[in-house]
Structures are given as structure tokens and as C-alpha cells.
């Protein structure tokens, strides 16, 4: 292809030459040329080029070599590097060829400063080849009869030029064909390999600037062979359970070379290779028996080879092949243990014999059955019972005693040595000491100290302690010489393991010692829920439930109680994990506290929920200290009061339960004339001397009233009744209505009084009171008391002036302490002044008030006893003046006044009316 193209170019060039030659002196004529033409230069060397002008061109104009300008590509070469040799020759010199580039042109500056190109050359700059180094060769076996020799070398620096590398070789008297690298410059492959003839090879590197040869190496190609690995490997088991025979085919003929081998093997479940001792496989062979293998174990083999004398290279490893050794008797009895249930009676046991499957390395084959023998240790014991079992447990019901149990595992070759276990009822021998369990290397390590030297083996039992499930025991057996072991099993983190170690002796077993351990601890899953058991003023008793084992995730090392008030700093208290309550002291009283608990393992703590409580305002006993004395004082006061009353009972009775005169025995006629006299009293001084009036005049009043008032009052009462029906309200003033509504009622009311009262007199009283009450209606001015006594007339005017409510502070108003909050001291003085003059209105109002207060019996009685004598009234006044809570006394007064009113009805009633607004209170 390329040759064809170059042919075309050559042809064109020739044609052009002919053409230019034909028209020389014509249009296309070169005016000069450069020598050397297309130089190849060593980088860094100096170089001189000449531009020679044709004579013919000189004639065309004033052209001189000093007009020549040299250019590299488009840049002008400095004039200093020019040298004009003569009129037609200019040279240019470069001290360092590395600045050169293609093209280097010769130009001339013709007339008119027009630069014309004369000629150009291509410049190639590069380096000569370096001596190839590190030549080495290897003969690779490609197939049984095909070998390829590959030689590699270091070609050295880049030359920037096309450089030809050749691997040359020769025999001592004969030169062999060269090997030409294909696409690379640092290696070459040749298939002309002749063993057993020394070969000398070297590398020749050649380019336009030079040639270099490597140091030759001399070898017999058979000594640098990397053979193909053996193939068709077969692994076969022999009768012996510890050997496997390998056989294979070699891929190189023995007349070419003899081989030695490496054989490696591993158990199929292990990544670690073992190697047959190389000295055992130094001779040429096609089979080998590997010994010292484990019975019934799968092994994987592969091998490689090289020339027997060690010359050359190891082959690759052959393909792996596996084989299984023959079975052998189990090498060991199974690990044996038991669980004894004594549930029915102490004399009968359910003995669960359990044993472990043998490890494949101990089973040496497929275990077909287990043979269990049980022999009782007693004189009368029969021959041992034998059981053939396929599983790994056997439950026996035995009577109390000592038994020897053996278990042997059988495969098709034979039985294992027996495992022996003594089943005693009690564990009387020495236990292990200093049992510890802790995580180590990511597993749970148990260690102990031997109790004595007679321990045959140890059984380690363990189980997960959990609230939700039973402790499912796992176990393992260790040699009597061991003092520690890793628990073999799926030990999970964050679970509490209860580990028990039993030492087994020839003639019994020791007590199991237990410990607890975690493979890995973590923070508790939750914190304890704290609450108060009791809250006092300055202390609170906190209580909590211990965390469940499943929540602990580790050993609880301590609790921290954190409590604080709102906005207060948190206080922390550490508590021993064995406690379930704690008393917080020095708390502030009546304060809200927030408390929570953290449970800590070695890995950290977890908070429980927050609980709030409020301390009490008073401490324990404080209330009692206050209440009890107060109660005692109160009781004492009551007692004193009672005593006082008891002592003064006569006096009290006299004032509170006075002997009410029997109206039926009264003589109003006798009493009537005395009334004015009585009303003439103007001061207390006049009253007091008559303190004994009560006894004297009662009967007369009653009698008098009865006669003098009966008719008129009844009439009057009828009138009032009519008014009442039109009045606004207060129709049911209790005291009033009861007094006035019917004589019979009054009689019945007054039954409690000592005497049976005259009906008519009772009516009279009632009438008076009712008038007073009904006086709230201003229009009712019809009252007339025909028999009113004159002494009150004077005062009748005055009450009319005193209209209105409490503010006017009339003596009557002041008198009603409960209605008007005015000083009673005033009342005292003015009352008795009034008592003479305006007594009736007072009594009327009083009655109403009493009615409102629902003081029934006595007031009624007083109503009934109203028409008392003046003497009596003055005596009452005395009592009033000395008592502030004189309801009852006032009633008496009222009664007296009422009696008085009987004689002065008209002048007295309007006042009452005006004061009616006051009454509803």
C-alpha cells in the first residue's frame, strides 16, 4: 500500500522534473537549493546548511547571497548565524539542533523588498539508540510439542526516530534468523527453539543516527523453560484412611526434560494450603501418595512442576482436584452429660442423658448409631443395660443410686472409645474456685482454678437469663487440664449468661459454680420508673422497680436519681443497684419536684420517665401540733363556759327562761292603770328599782288585755287583713303571721309557755305585731288603738320624724344590731330612753326580724308574753344593756313593747310603716 503510494509520488516527481527541465529558463525555475538535503540530526549537535543560488537566477536581477534570509518554519533565523561565503552561497549555523524544525527555508529579499522563497528542506532531529539492557529470555511451553521463547529487554531512551530492534541469535558455529519484534520494541517471541544446543542471543537497536547492541546472553533453551503444569490429576483413596493417591500426566516429554514437583493440599473447608515436602517430589513421576491425612476428610490438591535440576521456571499450579480419605473408627467418644429430674419422688429419677455429635475430625466417618450402656453400682446390679440410639439423647427412669453410663459412637468401620459418666445423686466433690467469665477476643471466656488435680474433665453449662423465657441450658465439655475456655455456641451480645462449671472426677462430680457474664454490654433499654412512696415536707421516699433482665443489657452498676424543681438545678444522687427505694431529703416544702432515674451499666445510662411530686406544706406532726392545742383550748373554753353556766344557772334561767306568768291567772284590770306609771319612767335609774316587776304584774296585764282589747282589736284585725291582701308582700312574715293569723295557733304556740293563755289576749298581741309589720304600706293609716295609753303619745310624734333607714340612726334602728352596724353603746343609752317613749315600733320591727331569723318558739312565746308590765320591760332593758347578742332579750323587750303599743296604736304605727323598707333585711 505504502509502496504503491510512494510509487505514485515518485512518478509525479519525475513528471514534474521533466516538465521543469523542459521549461527551464522559463516560468518555473528554481533559483537555488540547500545542502544537505533532508538531514537527520542528532539532538543537541551543531548543524550548518548552505543555500546556493543558481547563476541563472543571478542574471535576472541584482541578487546576492547576502540577501538570503533563513527561516525555521515562519520565524526568521537571526542574521548572526548567517555567513555569506560568496555571491551565491550563504550558510547558516545552528549550535543546538534541538531548536530546528521542519521546514528550514532559504529565502531572498528581491527588489522592492519582496521576499521570495528559494528552497526548503525537511530536518529530522533525534537520538541514536541506547544499548538495550536487562535482556532475559524464557521458553514457555504452549503445548506438548510447541515452545515459544520470549526475550525481553529494556530498549532505553526514546530516540524520536524510527528505531529498529532485532533479537539476534546464533549457535556456536551458526547464525540463526533474527527475531523481529511485532509492534513493540522491548520483547520478541520466537518458536524456533532448539533444546540442548547453546544459544547466544543479543539485541540490536538501529536507527538513522546509529546502532547499539546489548550484552549477549548464552544459554541452553532447555534451561529456561516454564513448562505447562501437569494435567489430568486424579485423586483416589486407598485402604488406609490417612492416605490419598494422586496421579497425573506431564505435558513435557521425558526426553526433553525430567521434572520435579510441588504438591499442595488443603482440607476442603480450609483456605490454608499445606505442602508435601519438596524433597519427596524431586524426581520425575506421574503419581504420588500423600500421607498423614485425616480419615474421612475431603482434601483438595494441586501441583506444579519444573525442570528437575531446578533450571528454568515453575509451571503454574495445576487445576485443583479433591478427594476424600477412607473412613476410620471414631477417634473419640462423644462428650456426655446429663440432666436429672427428681420430680415424682426422691427415689425415682428421670435421667436425661445428652451427648454431643462428634466433630467430623473425630467421627472419622458417618456415625450410624450410638451405643449407651448403663450399669448400677451395686452388688446386686444385673448386667449393664445397653441401648442403641440414633439420636444424641436418651431418657432413663432410674431408681436412686449411682450409675455408670458409657456412650460409644459407631460408624461403618467401628466404635469410638467409650465416654464415661458417673451419675450420682449429689455433687459432693470439690467445686472449682475463682470462677470468672468475661468477653475476650469477641467471644465469651470462662476461666477457673482447679480444685485439685484429679479432675477428669469439666462440663460448662450456660443459658441466657431472661424474664420471658426459661433458661435453656447449653453445655460443653473441656479437658481436665484446661482452666478456661471460650463458650462454643451462638453467644449473643446484650444477653445475660448464667454460666456454671462442674468438675467431673473419676468417682463423682463437684458442685457447680455459677457466674453471670455478658458478651457485650450496652446501655439499658429503658430506665427505671420512679415514683414516690411517701412525700413529706422536706423529704420524699422514692421507690422503683428494678429493671427486668431483658431490659438491662448489662450489669446495672448504679442508679442515678436526678431531681430538680422547675427552673432549679438538677441534683443527682447515685444509688446502689440493690436498693429499690431511696429517701430524698432537704427538699423545700410545698414545692413541685421533677425526678427521674437513670440506670447505668458499664456502657452508659438510660433515663426512665420523669415523675413529679409536690412536697407538703406542713411536716408530719405540725398540723397535729396546731390542731390539738386549738381543740383542747376550745374544749377548755366550752368546759369553762358550761361550768360558768352551771354555776349561774339560776341567773341564766331567770333571763333566758323566765317564768312566764300564766295569762289565765292574770288580771288585766288590775294591771291596766299601772301602765302609764310605768311609761313615765324616763331613765334607767327609774327602771332598775323596779327590777321585780315581772313577778308582780304579769297576770294583771293579761287579764286586762283580754278585756280591753278584744273587741276593738278584732275589728282592727279585720281591717288589716283587707289591707294585707292589697299589700305588696311580706304576707308571710313568720313571727307576725303566726302570731296574728289565728288565735288558736297562738294558743298552740304558747303551749310551751307555762300557762294556758287567754285566746283573746293572744289575738291582741298578734294584731299589734301584724300592724307593725304591715306598716310598710304607707297608706295604712287606719290603725287606731282605742285603748292606747297616753304616755306614748308624746313620743308618737317623734318617730314620725324619724323616717327612713338605718342612716337616720334612730334609737330603734340602733337597737337592731343585726340590721344596722352602729355602735351598741349608742344603742344602750338611747334605747332605754326610747324604751319609754317609742317602745312599740321597736317591738314590731323586732318581731319581724325575729321572724326572718326564724327564731320560732321563744319568739312566739315572747309574742304571747308580749303584754308584760313596764317593770318587766325595764328589767329586760337592763339585760339588753349588758348583752350584745340580745336576740332573746330583745324579744322580751318586744313583747313588752307590744304590750305597750296596745295603748298607743295610732301614733306609733306610721313610724313603723316608714321604716318598713328596712324590714326585708
Amino acid at each position: 500500500m505504502s509502496s504503491g503510494r510512494s510509487w505514485v509520488i515518485n512518478a509525479l516527481y519525475i513528471l514534474l522534473s521533466i516538465f521543469s527541465f523542459g521549461v527551464s529558463g522559463g516560468l518555473v525555475q528554481s533559483c537555488g537549493y540547500i545542502i544537505p538535503e533532508s538531514p537527520v540530526l542528532t539532538r543537541g549537535s551543531s548543524f550548518t546548511a548552505l543555500c546556493i543560488l543558481n547563476e541563472s537566477c543571478l542574471d535576472l536581477g541584482n541578487i546576492h547571497a547576502n540577501q538570503i534570509i533563513w527561516r525555521i518554519k515562519s520565524s526568521v533565523v537571526p542574521k548572526e548565524q548567517y555567513h555569506v561565503i560568496n555571491r551565491t552561497v550563504s550558510s547558516v549555523t545552528f549550535n543546538d539542533t534541538s531548536i530546528l524544525a521542519t521546514p528550514l527555508t532559504c529565502n531572498i529579499l528581491a527588489d522592492g523588498q519582496i521576499e521570495q522563497n528559494i528552497y526548503g528542506i525537511a530536518v529530522t532531529v533525534g537520538l541514536p539508540p541506547e544499548k538495550p539492557e536487562n535482556l532475559s529470555c524464557i521458553v514457555n511451553q504452549m503445548s506438548k510439542s510447541k515452545f515459544i521463547m520470549t526475550c525481553t529487554w529494556n530498549p532505553g531512551r526514546d530516540t524520536f526516530l524510527a528505531t529498529d530492534f532485532r533479537l539476534k541469535s546464533q549457535w556456536p558455529q551458526e547464525t540463526l534468523p533474527d527475531c523481529m519484534p511485532q509492534g513493540v520494541n522491548n520483547s520478541c517471541n520466537t518458536s524456533n527453539v532448539q533444546f540442548f544446543v547453546n544459544l547466544e542471543v543479543w539485541v540490536e537497536a538501529k536507527n538513522a543516527l546509529g546502532k547499539a547492541e546489548s550484552e549477549p546472553i548464552d544459554f541452553d533453551p532447555v534451561d529456561i523453560v516454564k513448562p505447562l503444569p501437569p494435567h489430568n490429576l486424579i485423586v483416589s483413596s486407598e485402604d488406609l484412611p490417612t492416605v490419598l493417591k494422586l496421579s497425573w500426566d506431564n505435558q513435557i516429554e521425558t526426553f526433553e526434560m525430567e521434572l520435579k514437583f510441588n504438591i499442595r493440599y488443603r482440607m476442603s473447608d480450609s483456605p490454608d494450603w499445606m505442602e508435601v515436602p519438596p524433597e519427596d517430589t524431586e524426581s520425575h513421576r506421574t503419581s504420588f501418595t500423600v500421607q498423614s491425612l485425616k480419615p474421612y476428610t475431603k482434601y483438595v490438591f494441586s501441583l506444579r512442576c519444573m525442570k528437575k535440576d531446578g533450571m528454568g521456571f515453575w509451571s503454574d499450579w495445576s487445576k485443583e482436584k479433591s478427594g476424600v480419605t477412607s473412613e476410620a473408627k471414631p477417634s473419640k467418644g462423644p462428650a456426655l452429660w446429663r440432666k436429672i429430674d427428681m420430680f415424682h419422688s426422691p427415689n425415682f429419677w428421670a435421667v436425661h442423658l445428652i451427648w454431643k455429635k462428634l466433630d467430623p475430625s473425630e467421627a472419622n466417618g458417618i456415625i450410624l448409631r450410638y451405643e449407651v450402656t448403663v450399669r448400677a453400682r451395686s452388688r446386686l446390679s444385673p448386667s449393664p443395660a445397653t441401648y442403641n440410639v440414633n439420636s444424641t439423647n436418651l431418657t432413663l427412669n432410674l431408681t436412686n443410686g449411682t450409675y455408670e453410663v458409657t456412650v460409644t459412637a459407631h460408624n461403618k468401620i467401628g466404635g469410638s472409645p467409650p465416654s464415661f459418666l458417673l451419675i450420682p445423686a449429689s455433687n459432693s466433690k470439690a467445686p472449682v474456685k475463682d470462677l470468672k467469665a468475661f468477653p475476650k477476643d469477641g467471644k465469651l471466656w470462662v476461666e477457673w482454678k482447679v480444685p485439685n488435680n484429679n479432675v477428669v474433665k469439666y462440663v460448662i453449662e450456660w443459658c441466657v437469663v431472661s424474664d420471658s423465657s426459661d433458661c435453656t441450658t447449653e453445655w460443653q465439655q473441656e479437658l481436665g487440664t484446661s482452666q478456661g475456655t471460650f463458650l462454643k455456641g451462638n453467644i449473643k451480645p446484650f444477653k445475660c449468661y448464667l454460666i456454671t462449671v462442674h468438675p467431673l472426677y473419676n468417682n463423682g462430680q463437684g458442685n457447680g459454680q455459677s457466674t453471670k457474664a455478658y458478651l457485650q454490654q450496652s446501655m439499658p433499654a429503658k430506665g427505671p420508673t420512679v415514683q414516690t412512696k411517701k412525700v413529706g415536707k422536706a423529704e420524699a421516699v422514692l421507690t422503683w422497680k428494678p429493671l427486668r433482665v431483658d431490659e438491662q443489657n448489662g450489669f446495672i452498676r448504679y442508679y442515678t436519681i436526678l431531681y430538680r424543681t422547675i427552673g432549679g438545678n438538677e441534683t443527682a444522687v447515685n444509688v446502689d443497684p440493690s436498693k429499690t427505694d431511696y429517701t430524698l431529703s432537704s427538699l423545700s416544702s410545698d414545692t413541685l419536684y421533677m425526678v427521674k432515674m437513670k440506670a447505668y451499666t458499664d456502657e452508659g445510662g438510660t433515663s426512665g420517665p420523669e415523675f413529679t411530686f409536690t412536697t407538703q406544706r406542713f411536716g408530719k406532726g405540725e398540723i397535729e401540733a396546731i390542731v390539738v392545742p386549738v381543740c383542747l383550748a376550745f374544749l377548755l373554753t366550752i368546759l369553762l363556759g358550761v361550768l360558768f353556766c352551771f354555776n349561774k344557772r339560776d341567773l341564766i334561767k331567770k333571763h333566758i327562761w323566765p317564768n312566764v306568768p300564766d295569762p289565765s291567772k292574770s288580771n288585766i284590770a288590775q294591771w291596766s292603770p299601772q301602765t302609764p306609771t310605768k311609761h313615765n319612767f324616763s331613765s334607767k335609774d327609774q327602771i332598775y328599782p323596779e327590777g321585780s316587776f315581772t313577778d308582780v304584774s304579769v297576770v294583771e296585764i293579761e287579764a286586762d288585755d283580754k278585756k280591753s282589747f278584744s273587741d276593738q282589736d278584732l275589728k282592727h284585725f279585720n281591717l288589716l287583713k283587707k289591707e294585707k291582701s292589697t299589700s305588696e308582700g311580706h304576707s308571710s312574715g313568720i313571727g307576725g303571721s303566726s302570731c296574728m293569723s289565728s288565735p288558736r295557733q297562738s294558743v298552740s304556740d304558747s303551749d310551751e309557755s307555762e300557762t294556758a293563755q287567754n285566746t283573746s289576749s293572744t289575738v291582741q298581741y298578734s294584731t299589734v305585731i301584724l300592724n307593725g309589720y304591715r306598716d310598710q304600706i304607707p297608706s295604712v293609716q287606719v290603725f287606731s288603738r282605742s285603748e292606747s295609753t297616753q304616755p306614748l303619745l308624746d313620743s308618737e310624734e317623734k318617730p314620725e320624724d324619724n323616717s327612713g333607714g338605718c342612716d337616720s340612726a334612730t334609737p330603734r334602728q340602733q337597737y337592731f344590731k343585726q340590721n344596722c352596724s352602729q355602735d351598741e353603746t349608742n344603742t344602750d343609752g338611747s334605747h332605754f330612753e326610747r324604751a319609754k317613749q317609742v317602745t312599740p315600733p321597736i317591738n314590731e320591727e323586732d318581731l319581724v326580724g325575729l321572724a326572718q331569723l326564724q327564731i320560732s318558739d321563744h319568739s312566739l312565746q315572747q309574742c304571747g308574753s308580749g303584754p308584760e308590765q313596764n317593770k318587766h320591760e325595764s328589767a329586760l332593758s337592763d339585760v339588753l344593756s349588758s348583752s350584745t347578742e340580745g336576740q332573746i332579750l330583745r324579744l322580751e323587750t318586744m313583747g313588752i313593747n307590744t304590750a305597750t303599743v296596745d295603748e298607743i296604736p295610732k301614733s306609733y304605727m306610721p313610724q313603723t310603716v316608714r321604716q318598713g323598707g328596712y324590714m326585708p333585711q
Binding site: S145, W171, P172, Q173, E174, N192, Q194, F195, F196, V197, N198, D220, V222, E253, F255, E256
Partner: protein, 201 residues
């Protein structure tokens, strides 16, 4: 080359030589012996392969053509006793003569077979290998003779005789070349066995 010259100067059969030089010779002999083992085996394979590709009558089991001289190639002594009766030098000399001619003859056979059995690549490979092996043995023999002081044979005249007039004769010529090659390989092996016993490593 330099080494070989030294060997030639020092290692005559009768001459006492330094142990290292003797070692050199012994190594050389062993190497050449290995080559003769290889050659013996390969020449047998080659003859079988050659016969297999030539068709009748060559491929018949009882094909035993009469011995025929091949121009430029001496025939080995018929009897082993006669061969072993020669001196080491004589045997080497004979071998050198034979193996100077064999590569060219085998090359000619390969050229013929290129035409006659162009698809018999294994035969071509074996012929190629046989020629190379013979050249290699010739090289080794020359070196050995130099080391042992045995004068080398004159350069063989490149006279391979006229090309066979027809294919059968070409095949027959080839057959004889291969057979002679086998015979010479056996003789060379015998000779080198002798030498290895004389020059143990």
C-alpha cells in the same frame, strides 16, 4: 567461541586436563547426549509420520524397501559392534559427516513434502524440527570434537544429487532420508552414551 577454542587446546583424550575443563567437556557431552536422545525419539516419530502421509505402499506395515544410498549421506555402519568398535574420535568424525549433510537432505524432503503433502502440518513441523535438531547436533559435535581434539571433517560438498524424476521416487528418497536420519540418530545416541560413561559429570 573463545571458550571452545580453549577447550580444543586443552582437552585431548589422553591429556590430563583441569577438572573444570573436564567438567566443561562432560557438560557438553551430557548436553549432546540429551540431544541425541531427543533426536533418536524424534527421528522415529518422524519416520512413522512420514510413512503415514505417503500412502501405499509406504504406509503398509511390511513396507521394507531395499536400502538405497542417498547422495551426499553416508550410511551408518550396519552392525552396532562395528560402530562401537570405532574410536570415539572416529565415531564423532562419522557423525559429523553425516550431520553435516542431514539438515540439507531433510530440508529438501520438506520442500518435496510441501508439494506432495501440503496439508501435513505435523509432518512439516517434524521435518523442520528434525533439520534444526540435526543442525544443532552438528554444532554440538563440532564443539565436542574441538574440545576433544578430534579433527573436523571437511566441509561437505553441497551435492544433493539430482531431484527425483517423479513423485514416487521423491517419496522414496524422502523415506530413505528419514530412515537414515533415524539410523544415524541411533548411532549418535550410542556414541554419546559411550562418551558420557567416559566423561561423567
Amino acid at each position: 567461541m573463545e571458550v571452545l577454542r580453549v577447550d580444543r587446546a586443552n582437552l585431548r583424550p589422553s591429556a590430563a586436563a583441569s577438572s573444570s575443563a573436564q567438567q566443561e567437556v562432560a557438560t557438553k557431552i551430557k548436553q549432546t547426549h540429551s540431544l541425541t536422545v531427543l533426536l533418536k525419539r524424534c527421528s522415529e516419530q518422524l519416520l512413522a509420520e512420514y510413512v503415514r502421509h505417503q500412502g501405499e505402499p509406504f504406509s503398509s506395515a511390511n513396507f521394507q524397501p531395499p536400502a538405497m544410498t542417498v547422495p551426499g549421506l553416508p550410511s551408518p555402519p550396519v552392525s552396532l559392534e562395528a560402530w562401537l568398535a570405532l574410536s570415539d574420535g572416529e565415531r564423532l568424525w562419522h557423525l559429523a559427516v553425516a550431520y553435516a549433510a542431514l539438515p540439507g537432505l531433510l530440508g529438501a524432503v520438506q520442500q518435496q513434502q510441501d508439494d506432495l503433502n501440503p496439508l501435513a502440518s505435523e509432518l512439516h513441523r517434524q521435518l523442520d524440527a528434525a533439520a534444526r535438531q540435526c543442525r544443532g547436533l552438528a554444532v554440538n559435535l563440532e564443539g565436542l570434537m574441538g574440545a576433544l581434539g578430534v579433527p573436523g571433517p571437511p566441509s561437505p560438498a553441497p551435492n544433493l544429487g539430482s531431484p527425483p524424476p517423479n513423485a514416487f521416487l521423491a517419496k522414496l528418497r524422502g523415506y530413505h532420508v528419514c530412515r537414515l536420519h533415524r539410523d544415524w540418530a541411533a548411532r549418535s545416541h550410542d556414541a554419546l552414551v559411550r562418551l558420557t560413561t567416559k566423561y561423567p559429570l
